[in-house]
Structure formats: C-alpha cells, structure tokens
C-alpha cells in the first residue's frame, strides 16, 4: 500500500502548478491507499504520522512536490517509528525533471506515476528514435562553443558555428590571464580559434544570428541571418587601410568600452576571422550617403561593398548545442559605488582590458584623466598610476536587491586581478573586500593563500559605499575580523561584477522550445545526473548559459555536450525529447517495467 504526500514547496516558484489536479490523478494510481496534504500532517509530529502509517498499513510513501527532499527525513523517521523500511520512501521531485510551471502538469503527473510504480523516471520516459542528420549547429562562439565544435568536428562531421559578434572568442578572449595557473588567456584560446578558422569540417558564421528553428530532433531546419559585413571576407587581406581614414568612432565592445573604434574595424588583432567589417550603425556613408573613403582607399578592388544587404541562409542540422554564455552585471544599477559617476570606478572586465598588453594603455595601469576636450580617458603617463586600488566582491551577486545567486567566478578572478595589479604596481597597495572567499577548484585555495602572502590586503566585510572627494575615492567598510571601521582612500575602485543571463536568453529558449529558470539561465534535463541535455531532444546546453561557470567547468561541459551529439552520430539515430512523450506512454512503460522488476 502506497501513500502519497503532496508537499508545498519551500521556495515558491513563480507560477506553481495546480497540485489538486495532480493529487486527483495520483489518488487513482494502483496501490495508492492514501493521499496526504500538508493540512493533514503536522510536520513536527512523526508519531502521529507513524500511527497513520500503521492504521492504513502503508508500506511505501511517495513524496511529491517541488522540493520533495526537504521532507524526506521526517517521513523516514515516521517510517522507522512505524516499523517500516525507510528505504521505501520515493521522492517525486518535480524540480528534478523540470516540472515547476503550471504548464507542466502532465509531466508532474508522469513523475508521480513513475514514483508510485517504483520505476526511475529516466527508465520509464524513453522517447522513440528518429533519423539523424549528422550535421550540428553550435550557437555561440565563446570557449564553450569553440570546444564543442572542435570535439564534434574531430569526428569528421560538419559543424555550423554561429556567432553573433564579428569574431569568435567570447569573453575569454578579453581576459588577460586566467586563474589559477595565470597563463594568458590569449595563449590558450587563440590556437583553438585559429583551429576553428582553419578546420575543414567547421563552417564558421560570425556576425550572424539564428532567426528561427523548425523541425524535429535529428532534422532541424534553421534560418540564420547573416548580417552584412560590407567587406568581402574572402578578398579582404586585413591590411586595415579602410580603417585609417574612417571618421566615426564608437566605444569598442571588445575593449569593454575603454577605447574607441571606427565604423570600419576589426574587433581585435587576433580576431578569427581576421577580416575587417563595417558597422552600419555609425558609417557616415550609410547614414547620410557621403564619405565612402574606405572604398576609394581599399587596395583590393570590389572588396568593400557599402550597400551589401543582410541575407538569410537556411541550414539543416540534427543536433543543436546552445553556448550563448553570459553577460556581466550592469554596475550602474549599484548606486552606492558610483560606477558611471566617478571615472575611476571600473568594472573587473574593464580592468582586464586595462591590464592586457593589447588594451587601451598597452598594459599600463593608469587612472582615467580628463583630456583637452574634457572627456575621461586612460593615460600612459606614469604620474597617473594608482597608488592604491580597492577591489569589491559580490557586485550584483548574493544580494536580494539584485541577483540572489552567487556568480561563482568573481572571488577567483578578483584574486587574480589583485595579483596582476601587485605584479605591475609592486609598491602600490591593493585591498580586497569580500563576504566569503569561494576558492573551490583545483589549486584555487593554494592560489588564494599565495595572493595573501604576496601582501594583498584582503578584508572581510562588504563596503557600503564609495565616495569621491577631489580626485580621491573613499571606500567605507567594516573590517569584521579586524574589528574596525575602514575609510580607505584609494585612487581606483574595481567592482567585481557578477554574471547574468543574456538578455535574449528567453527569446532563444522560446525559439528552441526549452525552458529557463527564474533568473533566465537555461534549464538542464536533470542537474545532478544529466547536466547538459534539455527536454527537447537533440538540443544540449554548454557553458555559462546554464549558470555561472569557470573556464575548466565550461570546457568540460562543452565536451560533455559534444559527447551527446557524437553518441547520436555513432548510433546514426537520435532520441526524441521527453516533451514528445504523452502521459499515457510514460505510465504504460512504467507499468511494464514495474512488473518486470517484481518478477
């Protein structure tokens, strides 16, 4: 005899599913003799429950709900008191298989059914095989996308790598060094980028966006918008003549807006493809029909065509890997620290560029100062090197007013930045302000200890505000372990901004028919046992678009996603998504399996 306890969730999801409907369904399942609601049971009194158990002579209990596990221990106690085996408690956790919204009632029912039959959901919910198109689409050209593409292409199968911006490389290309080994990001990444550019099985489509996805797993038809580069990548030699005379300027995305770029530009010298393009949004010719200097100057005839139009190409693929990555938290929201108000309050990503040899100051750390025209720019003059720098952790992370979650990487990259600053400015003083240091990975703790030894002064305590007096910034903070109030005068403040889902993540999810969580990170099939698959077959997620991740985890996950693709290629078939299964199908399968188990 089985009893079902339908628990109310501890952290309520936005639109909870209608539990009554599920309960009615569950009550009808074979062997179910009792259905308990939170109102029936006082979760403080196991004796009462154990009596219930004995009265209805219950042998198994199924706990159904979003956080079923929260109540398991209570029931196992009750079971023991009733003289039963605590092992006979089965969790039907809706979250576990992504049934937390009201439109997922059917799956919730299926989960309960499997639990009642005592069959693991994975085993019962086995979709049928579909024919497979071996080609693969990878969305996003960051490290995750690059890794996944290379893994798949290594098996001599076609990969389409679609990247929104003009070059692949993503955030990693912007970094100077990577923690904890401190080898330069470029040295690790550029070879991979080069390989992508040269690989015969990888069709690289930069400056393009996925517009629509149709079809079924194993055979998707994807429309891709190829934005006009206006410079023919095949004939462009990358000489850069077009950029010389190109007047209009705009903050460079690659340099985190610390420098200006022209309309005819190349994202950065090592970009892949290493070809120039023209940004229509600021090109004088395209705005008011005059100029066109680049066309005259370009040594290759017919290479530049300012009137080129965007085109839409259509490709057919069997698998799709989403690796759209993340965006950094917008620090202007965080009023207290005066980002955007005070010129020398920088975000960590800006500092990365500042430290980088190819950055605005050629790797020199210098404050922003006002030039003749009165706008704030970084200088090479050594008089402006900061004497002291403050690095503030958890900007926009672990904060109910912004993002509740922890961004996972900030602690470590802050320590890294501290080290790099110390290396470049040995005599200046570096302060870190943190809540908890989260140095969790291989060699991270060692790195943390090393930074401490290097004389970076690491303070436990979250600063409340940054104020500017003259050209001096003052960070006010409590040094919790030192039991004092610090009012630190610094020349430069670095905000360790957290990571956020891409703004268009919801759009992509909707386009591909996958789900996002409350923050907008893509939801995986099962966080514990299947962290890369989604509920739609043939669509895997990799890297930071699933949640904050550091590079090693991202690379590993990207390869994992690739393995799913390779598996289907090896079988030359692909499993349909769980979504495709109806409740009945799952239930009947579960029934069969449970019979097999009994025999």
């Amino acid at each position: 005899m089985t009893a079902i306890y339908s628990c109310d969730t501890l952290n309520g999801s936005t639109d909870p599913l209608n539990s009554s409907e599920i309960i009615d369904y569950a009550a009808k399942l074979p062997g179910v003799s009792a259905v308990w609601l939170p109102s029936d049971i006082s979760l403080t009194d196991p004796e009462q429950v154990s009596k219930k158990i004995q009265k209805n002579n219950i042998k198994r209990i199924v706990i159904a709900g979003n956080n079923a596990g929260m109540h398991k221990s209570f029931f196992s106690r009750a079971m023991v008191l009733a003289g039963n085996n605590p092992g006979d408690i089965i969790l039907a956790s809706f979250l576990e298989y992504g049934a937390s919204h009201k439109n997922e009632v059917e799956r919730a029912k299926a989960i309960v059914a499997c639990a009642v039959y005592g069959v693991p959901f994975e085993n019962a919910a086995v979709p049928e095989d579909l024919p497979l198109n071996p080609a693969t689409l990878v969305i996003g050209g960051g490290i995750a996308g690059i890794q996944a593409s290379l893994e798949i292409a290594a098996s001599k199968n076609i990969v389409y790598l679609v990247e929104k911006s003009a070059t692949i490389g993503g955030h990693m290309a912007m970094f100077d060094k990577t923690f904890p080994t401190l080898d330069c990001a470029a040295c690790i990444l550029t070879p991979k980028m080069v390989e992508i550019g040269q690989h015969e099985y990888i069709k690289l489509m930069t400056y393009s966006e996925v517009q629509e996805v149709k079809g079924v797993p194993g055979n998707y038809t994807v429309k891709i918008l190829k934005k006009a580069r206006r410079i023919n990548p095949d004939t462009c030699t990358g000489c850069g003549t077009c950029a010389e005379k190109c007047p209009p300027k705009k903050p460079s995305e690659f340099d985190a807006n610390t420098t200006l770029r022209r309309a005819a530009y190349i994202p950065f010298p090592q970009a892949v493809p290493n070809k120039y393009l023209i940004d229509a949004s600021i090109c004088t010719y395209l705005i008011n029909g005059k100029c066109g200097a680049c066309v005259k100057l370009c040594p290759v005839p017919g290479c530049i065509n300012l009137d080129e139009k965007d085109e839409v190409v259509e490709i057919n693929v069997g698998n799709i890997i989403i690796a759209t990555g993340f965006k950094t938290f917008n620090a202007t929201k965080f009023g207290q620290f005066g980002y955007g108000k005070y010129p020398n309050v920088l975000t960590s990503i800006e500092l990365e560029r500042l430290i980088n040899a190819a950055g605005p100051t050629g790797g020199k750390i210098a404050k922003r100062v006002q030039d003749k025209k009165g706008n704030w720019v970084f200088t090479h003059e050594s008089v402006y090197t900061p004497k002291s720098v403050a690095i503030i952790h958890c900007i926009g992370s672990r904060d109910v007013n912004y993002n509740k979650y922890c961004s996972k990487v900030c602690c470590m990259y802050s320590l890294k930045l501290a080290h790099l600053l110390k290396e470049k400015l040995p005599e200046s003083e570096i302060n870190e302000y943190y809540i908890d240091i989260r140095a969790y990975g291989k060699g991270y703790e060692e790195f943390y200890n090393r930074i401490k030894k290097e004389g970076v002064n690491i303070v436990r305590g979250r600063p409340a505000k940054v104020e500017q007096y003259g050209d001096e910034l003052i960070v006010r903070c409590e040094d919790i372990e030192g039991k004092r109030i610090i009012e630190q005068k610094v020349d430069m403040v670095i905000l360790a901004v957290g990571t956020e889902p891409r703004t268009d993540s919801a759009k992509i999810a909707e386009m591909l028919g996958i789900t996002v969580d409350t923050y907008g990170w893509f939801k995986e099939f099962n966080y514990i046992s299947d962290p890369v698959n989604t509920f739609s077959g043939g669509i895997a997620i990799a890297g930071a678009c699933q949640g904050p991740k550091d590079i090693p985890d991202t690379v590993a996950q990207a390869s994992a996603a690739a393995s799913r693709v390779l598996q289907s290629i090896a079988r030359n078939k692909i499993k349909n998504g769980i979504k495709s299964l109806s409740l009945e199908q799952i239930e009947t399968k579960a029934k069969e399996l449970s019979q097999i188990l009994q025999e």
Partner: protein
C-alpha cells in the same frame, strides 16, 4: 571565560516585534552604511551577532540600540533583507523590559491582551476614584451650572484634588523611571569593570544637555531625506507634550479655570499650540505607520499603535472638554472630563515607565552614558573593542 551560545534568545526577541533576521550572513554592510558608526563604537552587525549567537549578557549591557537613529539606511541596502534597523527597535523594547526591574513591561510587551486589559483596568479605577472624590453625576450636578448656564468644573472636580492626584501619580512614575535609569547605569557603566570613571567625569557632559532635546546632527548624513520632516515633527510633538505636561502638573490651578478668557490669553493659545502640535504629530506618525513609506515606519509593534491611540484620544478629549466648557454644555463637559482622565491616566502609567514612552528617558541617558564611555576611553586609553 567563554560564554555559552543560545539559540532561543532571538526567538524570544520575536515577541518584541523583531522581523526574521536569521537571513543575516554577516557581510558588515549595515555597519558600513551606518552614520553613527565610529571606530570602537556602535556596530549594528555586532549587535545582530550578539542576538544571533544569543549572548544575553553582552546584549543586556549593550548601549548601541539607543544610539541608533533609525534612519533605515542599513535595512534598505541589506543584501539579505535582514532588517537590522527594525531589529534595533525590537532590542530597544527588549532593553526597556530589561531595565524595568518590576518586570511589568516584559509582560506588557509580550502580550497584547495584558496591555489592553491593564489599560481598561486603570480606566475603571480612575472612574471609581472619580465617582468617589467628585459627586458627579448625582442630580446635584445641576447645582454646578453657572449663572450663565456654563459648566463649573472646579466646583465639580476642585483642581486641588486633581492636582493632588497628579502629584501622587507623578511621584510614582518618577520613582519608577529613576530606578530604571539607575538600573540601566548599573548594568551599562557600573558592571563594566573596564571603565574607570571619576566622579568629575560624570559632570563633564553638561555641554551635551541640548543634544538630549534635539536629535543629533548625524541624521543629516543619512541617505533617507524625508527624515528632516520626520524629526522636526517629532520635536514639535515632544515640545508640545512637554508644554502641556508642565501646565497641568505645575499650573493646573491657573489652567483648569471656570472663567472664559479671550483667545489671546496664554491659558488658551498655549493650550491650542500644544494641542495642534500633538495632533499634527500624531496624524503624521499614524499615516507614516499605515502607508509604510519609510524604513522606520515599515514595521509597527502593537505597543506603537496603543501609544498613538492613547495619546490621540487624550488630546481629543482634552480639546473637546475645552470647547464644551466654552460653549457652556455642562453635562457633556463633565463626561468628557471623566473620559479625558480615563485615557490620560492609563497612558501615563503604562507608556511612561513600562513602554514606548520611556525612550524619552532612556535615549538621552544612553547618549550620556555613551559619552561617559568615550571619556573613559580617552581618559584611560583603554581599547574598548566591546563597547557594548
């Protein structure tokens, strides 16, 4: 000697109106935002810590909650919604009950019923006394209608008797207050052996006196700008109350009169001013607490409400009494007079020594003690890392 931690202290504090601050993960944001914080002095975080760890001893001799200006900046920026500001207020209530040796305030704070009951009890007592010592409303009342048909209060309730009652009550209240303050001093200053204060040190803070009456300048630095209005009104209210208090306690004979003075006569316009002061203040605070537009009005303990209501009804009955008398409606006058006493007395006897109102005493004295502590530091160069 290591203190034993205790999980139940914070649960006890919920009875004093605390919100859920278990969420606190000790980032130190509150301390850093707080403008009253100076080195060695006042860490909201530290107080929160004492509560979370249940360090009763340290908490009971903690002066910080009294120094808190309740601007609410900390609660606004708290990354975990742990409401440090509100907690300070709850601890104030807790401390009031700690200082109150009679233990009455503990009971009143912890149970709404008891509070209400005691109010009504006192009210009835007043009524009984009233019936005993005045002959109202026996038919004789008719005799005290003046030739012009107006009321003759002093005939019905001669001001000397009332005055006597005043003084008896005042005496009681003052003893309570004084003893509480003494107990406070004993806990905060005397028991803290690290403080070495000579007698002369106690006299130095005279310069501090004005501070006791107007809220200290640190508010200016708070981010919450509405506070200016808030505190000026608070001051206005306090002053008008003080005015009325002095008149009644010391000049009742002159104030409670049967002849009607012209409007410009101090007996009248002083009365009006304080009444307006009280009304404006009460209404402002009432609306604040209802629309919750500021951090410091977000959360209200029931004692906050009872106080407002009592004060309001006292003022109301008072002013009505006045108008009825002037309009010459004797019966109404006499009844309102009774009602007036029936709210006035409970308000004073409950609020002043045992409840919210005692902050009127504790706040200035805590400032005084805090100053003494600072002196002690300066004098004897002792590092007070636990100035609690």
């Amino acid at each position: 000697m290591s203190q034993r931690v205790n999980l139940n202290l914070k649960n006890e504090l919920f009875l004093y109106g605390a919100k859920d601050w278990n969420q606190c993960f000790q980032c130190g944001n509150c301390t850093a935002t707080c403008h009253t914080t100076e080195n060695g002095f006042f860490f909201p975080r530290k107080t929160v810590r004492q509560v979370l760890m249940g360090l009763k001893k340290s908490l009971q001799i903690n002066i910080d909650p009294w120094l808190c200006t309740y601007c609410g900046d900390c609660s606004k920026t708290c990354p975990r919604d742990a409401n440090p500001a509100e907690m300070m207020m709850s601890i104030r209530r807790y401390l009031i009950s700690v200082y109150d040796w009679t233990g009455i305030s503990k009971l009143l704070y912890k149970s709404k019923k008891l509070e209400v009951a005691s109010i009504f009890l006192l009210a009835t007592i007043v009524m009984i006394l009233y019936l005993l010592f005045t002959t109202f409303p026996s038919g004789a009342a008719a005799r005290w209608i003046g030739p012009d048909g107006g009321a003759l209060i002093n005939k019905m309730a001669p001001w000397r008797r009332i005055h006597l009652g005043d003084w008896i009550m005042a005496a009681g209240l003052i003893t309570l207050i004084v003893t509480n303050v003494f107990y406070m001093w004993y806990k905060i200053i005397y028991e803290d052996k690290s403080l070495k204060l000579g007698f002369i040190d106690y006299l130095r803070p005279i310069s501090l006196l004005p501070k006791i009456f107007h809220p200290d300048k640190k508010y200016a630095k708070c981010d919450e700008k509405k506070l200016f209005l808030y505190w000026s009104l608070h001051l206005f209210l306090a002053l008008s109350y003080a005015l009325m208090f002095t008149i009644i306690v010391f000049f009742l004979g002159w104030f409670q009169t049967d002849n009607v003075y012209p409007i410009y006569h101090p007996q009248r316009f002083l009365g009006y001013i304080s009444t307006i002061g009280l009304f404006v203040g009460i209404i402002y605070f009432y609306t604040n607490r209802t629309i919750k537009n500021m951090e410091n009005s977000k959360y209200s303990h029931f004692t906050d409400w009872t106080f407002l209501i009592l004060l309001f009804s006292t003022t109301l009955t008072g002013i009505l009494l006045h108008f009825f008398r002037i309009l010459g409606w004797p019966q109404l006058t006499y009844i309102t007079y009774l009602l007036h006493l029936m709210v006035l007395v409970p308000m004073l006897t409950i609020e002043v020594p045992f409840s919210k109102w005692s902050h009127m005493i504790h706040r200035p004295f805590s400032l005084y003690f805090a100053y003494l502590k600072k002196l002690a530091i300066i004098n004897h160069k002792i590092i007070l890392n636990n100035c609690t």
